[in-house]
Amino acid sequence: MPPPRPSSKLPLSWQALFSLVMFGFMYLPILVLAFYSFNQSPYSAGWKGFTLDWYRKFFSDTRILSALRDSLAVAIFAVAIAAVIGTLMAVGLARYHFPGRGIYRGISYLPLIIPDIAIAVSTLVFLAAVAIPLSGGLIQLNLWTIVAAHVVFCLSYVALVVSTRLTNLNPHLEEAALDLGATPVQAFIQVLLPELTPAIISGCLLAFVLSMDDFLIASFTAGGGTNTLPMEIFSRIRTGVKPDINALSVILILASGFLFFSAEYIRYRSEQKRLG
């Protein structure tokens, strides 16, 4: 494929240069965080010497570590539940045509579009209406209310990714399995599920990152005693610039980057397999 406009070379270099600047813009904040996380003086823009103190501080900060544990617990439970019911929903929507299917599908994608604040508010009002004790009492319950709220958007993301995969699937494989005497459950588990696994994992990783990042919904649905990582980070940023957050940022960014590449790699591998 030749370049789009062979007659003019100038716009090409202009766009490349501009894009390069934009790449710099995208990575500048991340580089700044990394720079300060190793800088002895986090308040001066100049380099005052290399230190790992901020990392030591981070690993001995029990508040942050317990917030991290709460966030991980919420994300793991929410994503696990969403993976199961989101996948079932995607398969069901692909397979059945029934009155109200359009509405069902529309509602299932709403959490991708509605602002977090609206979801957060409605969940809080709902929890208040059914009188779940948000503060005091059972600490477990506080964690579970966040999980319940997170499942809503996690399940949308899982379903979206799985649906995309379903439309590219060969529907005859499952039919063949049924014809050969498999029960619907066997056909689902042994034929359809392996085909969907890469999409499910990919959707789960996306949902996991979004759950770990959510501040608003968690603040509205957590009671006292539960504190997720974004809630902890938010309160620290609000009370001034805290250098040990730099170390936390770098660790989180590395973890997210790792998850992202895992998701992309799994997706890439499954695409290759499908083409091959």
């Binding site: 090409l12 934009m22 823009a45 079932l88 397979r95 045509h97 409605s122």
Partner: protein, 297 residues
Amino acid sequence: MAQASTTPKSQNPPIELPRWLEPLALLGPAGVWLGLLLVIPTLLIFELSLVPGIRPGEVVNPSSLENYALIFQPIYLQVMIRSLIFAIGTTIICLILGFPVAYWIALIVPKRWRNLVLVGFVLPLWTSSLLRSYAWITILRPTGVLNSLLASFGLPPLDILNRPPAVFIGMSYSLLPYMVLILYASLEKLDQRLLEAAADLGANPQQVFWKVTVPQTLPGIAAGSLLVFITGLGDFVDPELLGGASSMTAARLIYNQFLGATQNWGFGSALSMLMILAVSIAIALLIKYGDRSATGV
């Protein structure tokens, strides 16, 4: 309208399950979950938005539009308009910054590098949004990276943090990857033969761009703009952390009605309903005029 891919049973399965059980098992759990935690709650805040009062239970005068009328008081109207300006401004900035990048990746970068370059561009999206805002604080604060850089060039310092420009920077930064993703999807489908044909027929590059490229990618531009607008309208973190006290937006106002000092759940619900309405209108416009295939990104 019949069941799409279930096949007639050729042999007798060991146990004959009722036909309705399978769709119920597939669609039931998510349906119940969404019903309980999305549909009913939304109906509840709609109901609450009609109740002037403080908290649920403390009903003063059921079913009135008092809460909605409150929004039009100058003090709140100002917040709404500010939110709109932030969202619209961010959309324009993202479009101007994102189009050349998407164009470059979709049409100029060699095909085998395209995915990698695109992934590289959107990768920062996967990091914590709070920490990205925090990084911008570090850059924009009076003694921050930006001002040290300006000082080293002998330029006067900029006092941007806790002012609207910082909000525009933070929001544009957060939403640019979405814009690029959607514009890329749209530009990638562009029929390049049309561009060549236009050039062959004597159009100069600018004419080709405005008369062929832009009209062809208009649905993608609409989809990207609406997505950025919607997300920007509901953004809480960037205005809150970068904009300072004078940059209160709708999301913060809602937050205050529920978790802040000024507790008024009815008013907060009305604001929330207004936001859902604004988003619904935007989505309706998108379905009507936008590129639906590009929104699945």
